[in-house]
């Protein structure tokens, strides 16, 4: 049986296919304990299947929707209680009644999704017929409401994470002579790490420049992501009109109230490259994790400034370097540095893995992020890699 798609069933499918959530299990365990029932479950009703996303006494997974009792529950707005499933013609023939585990009693409360439609049900099942009292029905309704709340919080968080991902640059910058890639892997749905790149006009009229940035707002999760979005947008705005030092200084002036009111600070590394010459201006606000690397070795691009939001006034003068044709600019967040024991010796020891000839910037970024994630990073993990392409890369000739 395939039911026509509806917003509610689409939503159920989406939730069922996202990562399983421990907190749904908690509510289901609570239901099982309160009712002393052998089976309790949260079942989501998709287009043609029922997804058991949290359960006690019954395996998680999917089953055909015609074998589901909960698909009847989602079609109503109140609790569905069946004293003995064998005596109800709608359910007498379904497999879990005629065969193991031979359930007899069912009570389920519909659970509504963000779409306003019911997407599933919290249900308890027993192997002997029984009847719920008035208080027990109220309790089941309360647990259903609790689960609804958990689901909507999760969906909000997922959406916030999507918004943040969609704000990251995805297409190559509109400037010749560079290759750039970046990736953020937030520890939660959203986070305080971000990267950015965009093309600006040199304020002295010397042509187009590629600006890259990587920032890390203290903390994790949605709250940190709000501040990260602000710092990113303000930096973009100011960067159009001035050099990187002034752009960061003005960004701090604009965001200072919001950083201080929230007791947050943000590390930030900003670079501005002339792809034709390799001239690179940069500003390091307490970030410290930018290097230029090649087979000849590496050097750090750092300054003594504090993170934005720290209680001290700084001068914010840019520094300069030159990115040679065979060199990589690599900027990471502390989520990467932490798995390297916060040690530059470890960074140096790992450099060969990103300097292998033939790797694209995208592949290098993936190597860095995947390495950090697979080595137990607990923080947001971000990497940005940039190189010039208008020169023959001498490293590949060696």
């Amino acid at each position: 049986m395939v039911m026509p798609p509806s917003p509610g069933r689409q939503e159920a499918e989406a939730i069922a296919h996202s990562a399983p959530e421990e907190r749904y299990d908690r509510v289901v365990r609570l239901a099982q304990a309160i009712f002393g029932a052998p089976i309790a479950a949260l079942n989501l009703i998709g287009n043609d299947a029922q997804f058991t996303v949290a359960s006690v006494g019954y395996p998680k997974g999917e089953m055909p929707v015609e074998d589901s009792v909960c698909q009847a529950t989602v079609q109503q707005d109140e609790i569905l209680e069946v004293h003995d499933l064998r005596e109800d013609e709608r359910f007498a023939a379904i497999s879990s009644v005629t065969g193991p585990p031979r359930v007899r009693f069912y009570a389920g409360v519909p659970v509504r999704g963000q779409s306003g439609q019911n997407i599933g049900a919290l249900c308890i099942l027993d192997l002997t017929p029984r009847t719920l009292g008035r208080q027990q029905r109220e309790m089941l309704a309360d647990l259903g409401a609790l689960l609804e709340r958990e689901l909507s919080v999760q969906e909000e968080m997922d959406l916030a994470g999507q918004v943040q991902q969609l704000m990251l640059p995805t297409s190559a910058p509109d400037i010749a002579g560079v290759e750039v890639a970046g990736r953020v892997q937030p520890a939660r749905e959203a986070g305080g790490d971000y990267f950015d790149w965009f093309v600006v006009d040199d304020p002295e009229g010397a042509g187009k420049r590629l600006q890259v940035a990587l920032g890390d707002v203290m903390g994790k999760g949605l709250a940190a992501s709000l501040i990260a979005s602000e710092v990113r947008a303000v930096l973009r705005g100011h960067s159009r009109y001035t050099d990187v030092g002034n752009a960061v200084a003005r960004t701090l002036t604009t965001t200072r109230h919001d950083l201080e009111a929230n007791n947050r600070f943000s590390t930030l590394w900003v670079g501005r490259l002339d792809p034709a010459t390799g001239a690179l201006d940069y500003l390091d606000a307490g970030h410290g994790l930018a290097i230029i690397a090649s087979e000849r070795g590496y050097r750090r691009l750092y300054q003594d400034y504090l993170p934005l939001g720290a209680p001290i006034e700084d001068a914010w003068d840019k520094a300069s370097d030159v990115l040679a044709g065979d060199e990589l600019l690599v900027v990471v967040s502390d989520g990467v540095f932490d798995v390297l024991d916060d040690s530059f010796e470890q960074v140096e020891a790992r450099l060969h893995t990103i300097l292998e000839p033939g790797l694209s910037c995208r592949q290098i970024v993936d190597r860095i992020v995947d390495f950090a994630v697979s080595h137990g990073a607990t923080d947001d993990v971000t990497a940005l890699v940039l190189r010039r392409t208008d020169h023959e890369r001498r490293s590949t000739d060696r």
């Binding site: 305080g192 890390d216 203290m218 903390g219 994790k220 007791n263 947050r264 600070f265 590390t267 307490g286 970030h287 410290g288 994790l289 003594d304 400034y305 504090l306 993170p307 720290a310 209680p311 001290i312 502390d334 540095f337 932490d338 024991d341 916060d342 040690s343 607990t378 923080d379």
Partner: protein, 110 residues
Amino acid sequence: MTYEEVDQGTHVVLAPEGKFNLVAAPPIKARIDDLVAAGKARLVVDLHAVDFIDSSGLGALIGGLKAARQQGGDLRIAAAGDQVRAVLKLTNLDRILAPYATVEEALHGW
């Protein structure tokens, strides 16, 4: 994460243990705010038993430092391990939160 607190009259020593991160930082920051509000604005955070700090932990220390200084006091850190020192140095926060070798040294001038 647990932390010990010793009120020495002229100053209060807080000694967190283990990981000073997103989970551990808020209660310690709240305690620092309470102490400062109660007029105890000379604080030493003894970090000898902290084996890991992240940006949330640093945020709690900087927030506590700001609160203490606004009340005419100070927050000083003592006995930081290698990881804590590395992170302070990386972020340049050691410019405003200089690590003292011992709690006794952190008390100078108080």
